[in-house]
């Protein structure tokens, strides 16, 4: 049965995928994920757990997969000239070109396929070749794992739907709470973009295409941090921390801006800002953006809030920062022991300790 695994941050999903693959070494497995960082992380996990990547395993980025295994093998059913690579599009490509103008709609001047349309093109290749694309994939792979599935959007979801009804076993792994990136900004499937991708998963489950499973154990953050993160998504199952180690400074803290220097000296937290415009109190060069911290782990983080988060802290209700919930969720769940917010007011949130007051 195909599976969707909604994996809470720190639940060890990469380890889980890799372990599962290593248990069945004769299976031809493909692991696809959106970011190159994550491709590398998965590869490292194989080296770490197994000393090498088995020859039956392929780890590849989403766009490479689409280009190499979906578009190109049968592209001459629609276009003769070789599609050399992809043209990264931030937003929507060739907005005013009609689909009937095939070349201009899908391809850049240099015959590169636009990233917001590559999935759509792949679907056409499969359709025009009468399903040869899927036939070939079925012979190439016994099982396909798609990691960070929440990053996929637009026609990507149609590609997944096609895979779900193929002979290939499909495991989708991800966390819609951490939907901070998006492969594309196509109009297609807009109702399922970002955190709402979960609705698509449940649709598929209703159609018996897959089962949706939540993993609730978190091996990274302690329970107080888990609770704080869970508050961002009140409707979802609660996370259970497996980290019972105490470090002497554990939980969630409020740090006044005039105490930052002292706090940093004492605890060396990683500083996380919303974006480049966020006030960093002189620490601009030592911070990274919330979204960019995805996949990383730190003992302690110090979060530099933007406007909406300040309001939410003041109200004692994190759901007021819902507009950037995914990024904030990522930032909070980076820490093993302590999460601190720079904030100059009283915060009525439960279990929050005001530093040095």
């Amino acid at each position: 049965m195909n599976q969707v695994i909604i994996a809470a941050a720190g639940s060890g999903k990469t380890t889980r995928i890799v372990t599962e693959i290593l248990k069945a070494p004769t299976k031809k497995s493909l692991i696809v994920t959106y970011t190159l960082n994550n491709v590398n992380e998965i590869r490292q996990k194989f080296y770490h757990l197994n000393r090498h990547i088995p020859s039956t395993v392929t780890v590849i980025s989403w766009f490479s997969f689409l280009l190499r295994d979906v578009v190109r093998p049968y592209q001459n059913y629609i276009y003769e000239k070789r599609i050399g690579s992809i043209a990264f599009i931030d937003g929507r490509s060739a907005k005013f070109v009609n689909k009937s103008n095939f070349k201009k709609y899908f391809l850049s001047e240099e015959d590169k396929v636009y990233t917001d349309k590559i999935s759509e093109l792949g679907l056409i290749c499969n359709e025009k070749s009468n399903g040869l694309v899927i036939d070939r994939l079925e012979d190439l792979y016994d099982h396909i794992y798609i990691d960070e599935v929440q990053d996929l959007a637009g026609y990507d979801l149609d590609v997944i739907e096609l895979l779900l009804s193929s002979r290939i076993g499909i495991t989708l792994v991800g966390d819609h709470r951490q939907a901070t990136f998006q492969t594309n900004f196509s109009n297609r499937n807009k109702q399922y973009s970002g955190v709402k991708i979960i609705d698509k998963f449940h649709d598929w489950e209703k159609q018996k295409r897959c089962q949706v499973e939540y993993t609730q154990n978190c091996y990274r953050c302690n329970q107080v941090i888990c609770n704080l993160a869970d508050a961002l998504y009140a409707d979802l199952p609660k996370t259970n921390s497996e980290n019972n180690t105490s470090s002497g400074h554990d939980g969630v803290f409020i740090v006044r801006s005039d105490k930052i220097h002292k706090y940093i000296q004492e605890y060396s937290p990683k500083l996380l800002r919303y974006n480049v415009k966020t006030d960093c109190y002189g620490y601009e060069n030592n911070t990274i953006n919330w979204g960019d911290s995805k996949g990383l782990t730190f003992d302690r983080v110090l979060i530099l809030p933007h406007g909406p988060l300040k309001k939410a802290l003041k109200a004692g209700d994190l759901s007021q920062a819902a507009s950037s919930a995914a990024k904030l969720y990522v930032a909070i769940t980076r820490a093993r022991f302590s999460v601190a917010f720079v904030f100059d007011d009283q915060c009525p949130l439960q279990n929050v300790v005001h530093y040095e007051l």
């Binding site: 039956t56 001459n76 059913y77 040869l132 070939r136």
Partner: protein, 541 residues
């Protein structure tokens, strides 16, 4: 291999399509799973076929990467001429490209090479090797073609080599799960070449550990050389020259670059004689045997003219070796030898004509195919290799036709590439089935046997074939060659030629009919003027 099931993987080349590669302007050849014997005249491009397959599978030409061997003469001359001419005309052509497509039999091991990116748009695993104009040189190219009068060749500097799967993915030799082994016994370029060549094959034969051992021992030997006292002295003297020749320290050492591995410093010996000095025949047979022995089942062997430089008995041994070892492997062999053809089986023959069309005997009607299976094979090869053929039904007809040809053209037919072949008259049509697809101009010289209707019915299939001519006499009173000869000449002339004194034509005819070959030989050898029957004269036109 992580896969433990019993799937034995054999890569099989099902089809080659080559365009503009040397003599292969536009060629499509189908291959059989195991043995293929390519037969064709000299200069038809038989060896180029093997070269093209090897290039497609290995990216190598003459044992070197194609990148280093890229030159304009890889392109078909006619294609180049047409291209250059077109540049001077109002409708210039695009720069020509070389395409070699290898269609492989579908196999689970080859899924990655599967796709439809080939000229037939066929969904199967395969490889496309191409040498194409690189469009990033468009600017330079437009300058180059500004003065077409000065252009003599392809601007190869602006070309790139592309090696891709039918899935349109760039490939390396690692992506192709097997390699090809090209054994070219016909030419041995020079001694070091031969040595290197055998070493290549030996390398495949040796186990990886053995190779590593050899490499290690070789490196140790080099180290030993440098620590030798005499070498040290030499280096001391050299270093003392510092200042007079150069400001730096001069010394000698052994080449330790990656290129100087053991292969380059080692030679193969046969009974302690360097192999390069052994007989060419021996070299060939060792090359072939080693190669057949070394590679595992999944390999394509390309063997060029195994009969070269070998005595008959050695060839016999070698061919036996090839056919024994060929089980589960695909072999593609070119040959000029009907012996090789017979021994390895005529059913595996691919006839490759000078018009670059190929047919396999498998395409022939099954009874025709059975006929050739039983035939010694020599006539078949003669027909295939002839530029023109005259088929006759017996040795006497052959002599008379030869004589008629000599009279007409003042030379023997073979000097003009015309082969007169004696064939059982019942088999004429079977031979025509071979010459028709190969477009070999073929004349059949036949008796009318007193039945014109059945004769014209018999050859009805070839009526409209412009390459095929059926010659016989309409006079049903003269059914065979002998009465025809008598009809064309006086009793006196023939009596003189045969040294006889028959009183009547009937007596002479009876003598001729019972001494057919002797009479024909007498006619052939005579210096007297003799008339040839009309239908035979027509045949030698």
């Amino acid at each position: 291999m992580p896969n433990n099931d019993k799937h034995i993987f054999v890569m099989i080349l099902e089809k080659l399509i080559a365009k503009n590669y040397r003599t292969l302007r536009d060629v499509a050849i189908d291959f059989q799973e195991h043995l293929n014997i390519i037969v064709g005249d000299n200069e038809c491009g038989k060896s180029t076929i093997l070269e093209a397959i090897n290039l497609g599978l290995s990216g190598q030409l003459n044992g070197r990467s194609i990148q280093n061997e890229l030159h304009p003469f890889l392109f078909n001359r006619q294609t180049v001429t047409d291209f250059i001419e077109s540049l001077k005309s109002a409708s210039p052509k695009e720069p020509p490209k070389i395409i070699i497509e290898l269609y492989l039999k579908d196999d689970p091991e080859l899924v990655r090479l599967r796709g439809s990116i080939n000229s037939l748009k066929r969904n199967c695993p395969g490889i496309v090797f191409s040498i194409e104009f690189d469009e990033s040189f468009s600017q330079e190219y437009s300058e180059y073609i500004k003065t077409p009068e000065t252009i003599r060749n392809i601007p190869i500097e602006y070309y790139g080599v592309y090696w891709r799967s039918f899935a349109n993915d760039n490939i390396t030799s690692r992506s192709i799960p097997v390699s090809s082994t090209l054994i070219d016994a016909s030419t041995i370029r020079h001694n070091t070449g031969a040595n290197k060549y055998i070493l290549e094959i030996m390398k495949d034969y040796l186990q990886p550990e053995q190779r590593v051992q050899l490499s290690l021992s070789y490196r140790k030997m080099k180290d030993l050389f440098l620590s030798d006292d005499n070498v040290k002295k030499v280096n001391k003297i050299l270093s003392d020259t510092k200042g007079s020749i150069t400001d730096r320290t001069l010394s000698i050492s052994l080449d330790s670059s990656s290129k100087s591995n053991w292969e380059n410093g080692i030679e193969t010996q046969l009974d302690e004689i360097p192999l390069s000095l052994a007989g060419k025949g021996e070299q060939n047979s060792i090359k072939i045997k080693l190669a057949m022995e070394s590679a595992d089942g999944a390999n394509i062997f390309l063997i060029e003219e195994p009969e070269n430089h070998l005595s008959f008995s050695n060839l016999n041994t070698l061919i036996k070796n090839i056919s024994d070892k060929s089980t589960g492997k695909q072999l593609i062999i070119t040959t000029h030898s009907s012996f090789v053809l017979n021994k390895l089986g005529i059913k595996n023959v691919i006839l490759f004509g000078c018009d670059q069309k190929s047919i396999t005997l498998g395409n022939l009607k099954s009874d025709t195919y059975d006929y050739f299976m039983k035939l010694p094979g020599h006539e078949t090869l003669r027909l295939i290799l002839s530029k023109k053929a005259i088929l006759v039904e017996g040795p006497s007809d052959e002599l008379i036709v030869q004589k008629a040809y000599l009279k007409k053209h003042n030379c023997m037919p073979l000097q003009n590439g015309v082969d007169v072949i004696t064939v059982n008259s019942l088999a004429f049509k079977r031979f025509l089935e071979i010459s028709a697809p190969l477009n070999i101009p073929t004349v059949v010289v036949t008796d009318n046997d007193g039945d014109l209707t059945s004769l014209s019915q018999k050859y009805d299939d070839f009526k409209n074939n412009t390459h095929i001519k059926i010659c016989y006499d309409d006079d049903v009173a003269c059914k065979t060659l002998e009465p025809q000869l008598l009809k064309a000449n006086s009793l006196k002339t023939l009596n003189e030629i045969f040294g006889k004194n028959f009183a009547t034509s009937n007596e002479l005819l009876t003598y001729m009919t019972s001494n057919k070959t002797d009479c024909a030989l007498a006619v052939f050898n005579t210096s007297q003027d003799i008339n040839m029957p009309q239908y035979i004269n027509k045949a030698v036109e």
